[in-house]
Symmetry: C3
Subunit: 273 residues, 3 copies
């Protein structure tokens, strides 16, 4: 089922509006180009509605939120909702500060979010209004592993039902679910946690997959998560003896660029939970 998702993305080449952090913004732009989409970044309240209206999807990432970008997130989000465009929320660091937790929760209350993409700590903070994320990394105790999977699945299904958003909770194992179906994904490589922005890139790319596959948002999200993980594996297999995380970062984006629909179909390791 996933190959169609990527084919549609490559054919439709959606333009994606990103209000994102300045740490990984360049990688987000390049990964969008790699997967077949086009990026535009804009976060001034005066123009975000117009920019959003030109685009097929919106990606909001609170990684370096500030008092100016928050109103822009609201305005752009409302416009995306009004136009029926997919809206991805990446609650980077929710739980690490009141500003982040509250901003993410307010966006979730005020807007119809299509997809939430975060680690388990961030998503829990978003759901529960508290939590103790260690910045941008998932708490170890909380990490999505085989032992914690059943519990995480229960939480994810419930939160998806109550929020109306698809969830993509990423970690050693990834969960993608809506209120009815849940997928467990076992692609990826541990080294992905040693580059900055693999999560941000996935969020941006998810917006592109959703924009190109409006009838099947859950499958589109699964495709995005599998694509990122599979490319993390492919990139790792390319590593030479002198390569570290900087080369790995480039190899992942390269792998997204090279990824073929059949290859995604064959390499994706997902199962219905």
């Amino acid at each position: 089922m996933l190959k169609e998702m990527l084919k549609n993305l490559r054919e439709k080449a959606p333009l994606i509006h990103n209000i994102t952090n300045y740490v990984t913004v360049n990688d987000c732009a390049n990964v969008l180009l790699a997967c077949g989409a086009s990026p535009i970044m804009s976060d001034d309240p005066e123009e975000v509605e117009e920019i959003c209206a030109l685009c097929a999807g919106l990606n909001i990432n609170i990684g370096t939120l500030n008092r100016h970008s928050i109103p822009a997130m609201r305005l752009a989000g409302r416009k995306a909702n009004a136009l029926g465009r997919p809206l991805v929320l990446d609650p980077v660091g929710a739980g690490a500060s009141r500003l982040r937790t509250e901003c993410a929760r307010e966006l979730l209350q005020e807007l119809r979010i299509s997809l939430i993409r975060g680690n388990i700590s961030e998503v829990k903070s978003l759901a529960l209004g508290s939590g103790s994320t260690r910045g941008v990394d998932a708490d170890l105790a909380d990490q999505l592993r085989e032992e914690t999977l059943p519990q995480a699945l229960r939480f994810a299904r419930e939160f998806s039902r109550s929020s109306g958003a698809i969830l993509a909770i990423t970690g050693p194992i990834d969960i993608v679910c809506d209120g009815e179906r849940a997928f467990c994904i076992r692609n990826g490589h541990p080294l992905m946690s040693r580059i900055t922005g693999s999560g941000c890139q996935l969020s941006a790319m998810s917006a592109a997959f959703l924009a190109a596959n409006p009838e099947q948002p859950l499958e589109a999200a699964v495709a995005a998560v599998c694509a990122m993980g599979l490319c993390g594996e492919k990139a790792f297999s390319r590593m030479g003896p002198l390569d570290g995380n900087a080369s790995y970062r480039n190899y992942i984006i390269d792998a997204i660029y090279k990824l073929q629909p059949e290859e995604l179909e064959a390499g994706a390791r997902w199962e219905l939970a």
Copy 2:
């Protein structure tokens, strides 16, 4: 004629002040270092005049403009004008929002711009105050191809005359012209459109070429455009089977770093129109 331009740039090593977007700013800094210049980025109104006064040229890029950077663009631009330093304007996304179109048009009215570097849609929006750019990519119908070249040349010459700026309109074919002479440039590679920031990099590098060649700004702009395109070709020829747009991005900057004056002279594909 182009080799002198690059020789002068490498010898004079101009410091270039950039007020640019946060998406491609790192690439702009590294490409300036690669071509032989030095970058400084500064966009706070309180300091831009002082910073500008230290520099040999100014590059204004509106890719992620906001209410704070716009006044800084004005202040720095006036200072560059007062000091007789070259000023490059990259109207990223002009036409995509009223804020961008108006900001770019006001800068053009208030300041003496030495060089405008953009795609055809952006430059048309700047000239005509309207247009329909698809974000940062040129409209397909508008793209600079052989069929649309005569018409684009007419537009470019006229706009250069009325604005007083040299134009560098880039696309599958590039036009560089002032009110009297027009050059068509056929360097480059289609893959350059699959990395973010090749246009931004060219704008930054153009400021460096102009700063190092104050007597021949048109030739300097031609040299910058040919250098970027030629390095796009060289970088492509280096691509391995696993390389995608992330590696390509690095290879282009590497190629600028390695580019020799004689090589630029020999590889540049320009003609007077």
Copy 3:
């Protein structure tokens, strides 16, 4: 002595709060991950105290300071002081504008800075309130070379004594000193000056080394400076005939990622002055 510093860093994996410029922020994040730490970037006054409280160290870099980030620097700095966490100040471009010079000097007066990392021009501007830095590059006349070393050492010791901060003054030769001991370090490669952000990366990494080695901040700073220089050498030895500064940038971060404690011990070229 240096291998312990790196071992501790890899074991403790400190989370480092960065208020830094948007030019090199991605490299700072990736170099922190490469050396074994974790980065979080946050510069909104509303949240910096909370973020800082989660972290083991703070890195303040004024490379693209603005009226909003300056109050955030103050708030975060006070919090780091209150919690006894190491605080690194990178006075990028001090001397290039009054805003930068005064901001850096005020931070130094109001806060207890653990380590100042800059080039000789920047550090002199910070100490003397004037100076003539050429943007982010050290004045040639001022550069730390064998001839100017004795004089620079005198200045550094005195300024360290009066400021209470460890100094890491980098250039062709590096000085790391507190009020009592001074180290000269002769690692590094000239090509490091042709990438943007090697200084910023070192500042971020220094915060991590200090956070992981609270009892030996001077040795920790020496380890950070030696590690950066040694990895600059290792990265250079990896350069192929087509590689330029973009690949070099990646190779340096890769080398940090690969750096082993014993290798640092063996490759570091330092001496007590």
